[in-house]
Symmetry: D2
Subunit: 347 residues, 4 copies
């Protein structure tokens, strides 16, 4: 048996950070050895997150590269634009990196700069970075030094569209992704819009004119289809966790519902974290809460020409920390499901 | 000044019933004189709904036609299939009727029977009944004896699509309505799926294969466009009130965002209960909570060929009781906004 | 009929401010003429609070005394410590002032300074300021120039304990107030603890060692009883509005449940905003949501020596803006219920 | 190593049932082999609870004793009054029984009959049944054939009061337990009061006149103190899981805060599932959600004579299924923490 993997987490004060620690606390072959936070150095982690009392006695340290270089893998759970400042040094030190932020998700540095409002600090690494969607890039992830962990919306949307696009069944020029997210997608930042009194008992769309996940989703879909045209509308729904993507595509040829069901089942047979529901199913966000599962159903209402895919994940797990652990498992040649076998807490 | 209108409410134990009473309690020219409930006859209304203490001292009575015939108008806030049993007798007695259920919404008795699972009891009245969407049928409502109050989803969806279809700007064959509703849309029935522990902290689509509001929406849209093809996916969102309809249509010709904005503003100028937000707006369900307002925004993301309309209502007000009061105001030649001038309680 | 009262609101960007505007928008004898906000001067109010679209077209101005001096009454909906800087000048200008913050609630300047962490700017006004609990100080309020609007917890707790203490039925030395508040009590500040993801699906006590409302409650109770000993534990409950105070007191003499019920009914007979429920009742926060009502029930479980009072208000209405309007009505000799006759929106 | 324990669950369609299955799915030395439900026999368990897909492929069977007799232990997650009909036969068959309902919690059959509204079916077993609160009865549980799993409120309240009463520090005659529960405490029954639209955005007390957990709590406290007088007020809080008990007791002698803290830490040192927070702490229900932990803090506000204990559990885990697994571990001489080492999912 291999030695336990030493993991560092940069920016462990947010929701993806504490979720990583929760998952790794139950991982039999990995151990978190360093957690950093510039603002909270010296403070115990479990003073900030009491759910970790008795499970983790780490103390936040400053995010210095020397300390992180002693890890086998470093996860960045930082705001966009932070990881790219330290990643080159860590890679040089032989550390593998999984970035849960957006720094290495887009292949084109110019597009990245437009959407994230700053120049990219190490554009040369964009080509090397592997987009960590195991269902699409599993083999590349195994050998990667640097994994760009996908965004939450892009994970749910891509997993729902992939079977249809790979099979060439739908018109790629008119894809619609109507996505709904719990509020934890906005992170643990003190912002008025995320207050319980603002986001509770309320439903709204946001950033209809353009959301940073739009170019990311397009980039992924364009890898399996030509000339993707995507309308992406994100919404905020009054709950903590969960993404529900409702996807619409126009069938190019007459395809029966049965074939669509078989298409999805075949595509994801053997995938440990994609669960295609029986025909007629309606996945619920709560059924995957706290787990790394993507739950999918495919419908063709009224036997008409529009296919509807329902794709559900926990934005903090399959949409962030869980997928990161899945990627770590692949990178270190562990069983892909290690540390990710939780049953969703229901209700 | 005209005498105060005497209103009866059949089935005042549900959410649309108590909402009607709340609205009429503040109406200067109407008074609720009869509330009926087969199961609660003899009980005070405010014992069931303590928010009405001090505002209404009525006692539930049996729903007999004689008593209701003394009213000027009777609202049915009953399950589908109930109103049609009593409406002919009430009309014969000279009473005006507003049905908040679905009994008179569809013009075709056969279609109605298919979707509602029973034969229609008075199909001859279907032609006479006026579909009570004032923004489309205001003049017909003024003269109506019998108004079919629109469903909640159909109200939000129709108001969002009407300007585009009337102007012939979009392809009617590929309309998509992705609609999200609060749980009160399911009524005050004791059902497992509506429990806080089932519907709370959860998001899901339901009835993707076919929802009863689909033929109702199509019927309305077909009145202003030919060969409407509609994909309608309703979702349950973990809050009490509110519907958010996100509508997608493919532009037939190149229309700038500016023109779309003007189209909506022109269409609804003068409408007391449709509020077109400034360009780039994102309506919130809470901003219309408890009010009869429909709040709308129109977008054309990335200047591409798909127009996105966001249409928001309170399902129990503009989607039910408020629209019913608006219809009553029209039927009795009152100011259309009487009793409907509330400011939404926020937060 | 008197001329319409011109009201100014300082700090109208928080929840008590927007609630004041909602209530005054429906008030037949008052009009908001000035809203100030240092940070948002020049911005339309309804751009920040879309629920006010069509109801209020005011623009925020700087909070300068000259402009406010043109008002008949000025409401301060500001953080603690702000009003006391401007109140003397406004009073000198002949303007009546209602402070919704805590600046004038405590009679003792030294105690105020200890609890609020700063010296009081105008301690000489503390004696003149009238504590605006109409059920206790109605006559004094009528003649007041300066009203200190009570805190939310103190309102709910005082109204529950007053009948027992005034009648001398309970031991004042061992009073317990276990109070639960919705999150809006924390205001519209961007703080991590008020995020939906922190305060949602969670329940906790806070400030058990000492909350600023403790001395305020004691001051009020000491006006009707000697040597009050009070244990006050506030809790945060995952909802937007509402306070539920559960009060415990030890009966000094054997008093039957029936007498307790009569005691409360007698004490509050004629009070327009205190509703004593029938025996055995359990008031709900939602039944008073958006209204100025305090709903109360009194119990004596197992006929033992402890009396339990359940006292419920909407913290933003009877606990803030509604009580302020009630005080304004008294100060200007209007009907006490003007603008405060809403029926709670339920569900 | 011992063979895996075969567990049966009677009534696995409710929230405590599915929670038991979730916990046992991760238990290395137990396996659920039978799940019964009279109404759902033949149906797959994971069709009702999709979170179990891939984790449990059991099918509901009829609850016949023969099948259950093949188990080592049978859990009853049934309504009150059901278990007592089958327990004698199962015990005769050599099966150990853990009843999560109330059938065997009270020692006095007459008291049981009064509170549960039916005669007890096997009163002779009441003396043998061990009340399964490991922190009080660990040794007795080890040898038990029949364990009465404590109620949710009684667990939170007893763990909070025990140290004070055992040490004789407080007056047992005037104990107050103000307890707040999430809605899942009401079970998965279709009842109007548990609907999201009734229980959401609302807070209320209920059953102040008398709740069935009152005699259960008294019985436990009377085992460690004389003449217990208890006022118990349960409340419904708008969230799914969690109980927060706020406990008040009058100190008999002058005891400093420091000593109280030490008292609690000493009492629970070594207890795997009771976590005494550092001085000044405020436990949150979310920090124990999905876990078997009871989180406790003790306060003495204003150094006065009343001690305040805050005791928090997940009602479905330490208050039901988790405590049942803890009891099973003790009965079968396993490590007490097996299957119960989850980290709470936060947020």
């Amino acid at each position: 048996m291999s030695a336990v993997i030493k993991a560092g987490i940069v920016g462990a004060t947010g929701y993806t950070g504490v979720e990583l620690i929760r998952l790794l606390a139950g991982h039999p072959e990995a151990e978190v050895t360093v957690v950093t936070s510039r603002g909270n150095a010296g403070q115990r982690l479990d003073a900030m997150f009491p759910n970790l009392r008795g499970h983790c006695d780490l103390v936040f340290t400053e995010p210095d590269v020397e300390r992180l270089a002693a890890c086998d893998v470093v996860f960045f759970a930082t705001p966009n634009g932070t990881a790219m400042g330290s990643v080159p040094a860590l890679l040089d030190a032989g550390v593998r990196v999984i970035d849960l932020a957006a720094d290495f998700r887009l292949k084109d540095a110019q597009t990245w700069a437009e959407w994230y409002g700053m120049p990219h600090a190490c554009p040369d690494l964009l080509a090397e970075a592997v987009y960590g969607l195991p269902e699409l890039h599993r083999e590349a992830i195994r050998g990667a030094r640097l994994v760009a962990n996908p965004g939450c919306y892009p994970t749910a949307v891509a997993l729902g569209f992939l079977p249809l696009l790979e099979a060439g069944l739908v018109d790629p020029a008119h894809l619609i992704a109507d996505a709904k997210s719990g509020v934890s997608g906005a992170g643990r930042k003190a912002e008025v819009g995320s207050l319980l009194c603002e986001a509770g008992e309320n439903f709204k769309a946001y950033k209809v004119a353009g959301h940073r996940h739009w170019p990311e989703i397009r980039q992924t879909l364009n890898q399996v289809a030509d000339a993707v045209g995507l309308t992406f509308v994100p919404h905020l729904t009054p709950m903590i966790r969960g993404i529900h993507a409702t996807l619409y595509a126009v069938l190019k040829v007459s395809e029966g519902t049965h074939n669509l069901q078989a298409l999805f089942e075949d595509r994801y047979r053997g995938e440990p974290f994609v669960d295609v529901l029986p025909p007629g199913g309606h996945p619920e966000t709560r059924s995957v809460r706290g787990t790394n599962r993507c739950s999918i159903a495919v419908h063709r209402p009224h036997d008409a020409g529009t296919v509807v895919v329902l794709s559900v994940i926990d934005n903090l797990v399959k949409g962030a920390a869980g997928q990161a652990v899945q990627n770590m498992n692949l990178m270190f040649d562990l069983s892909e499901i290690q540390g990710l076998e939780q049953v969703a807490v229901l209700p």
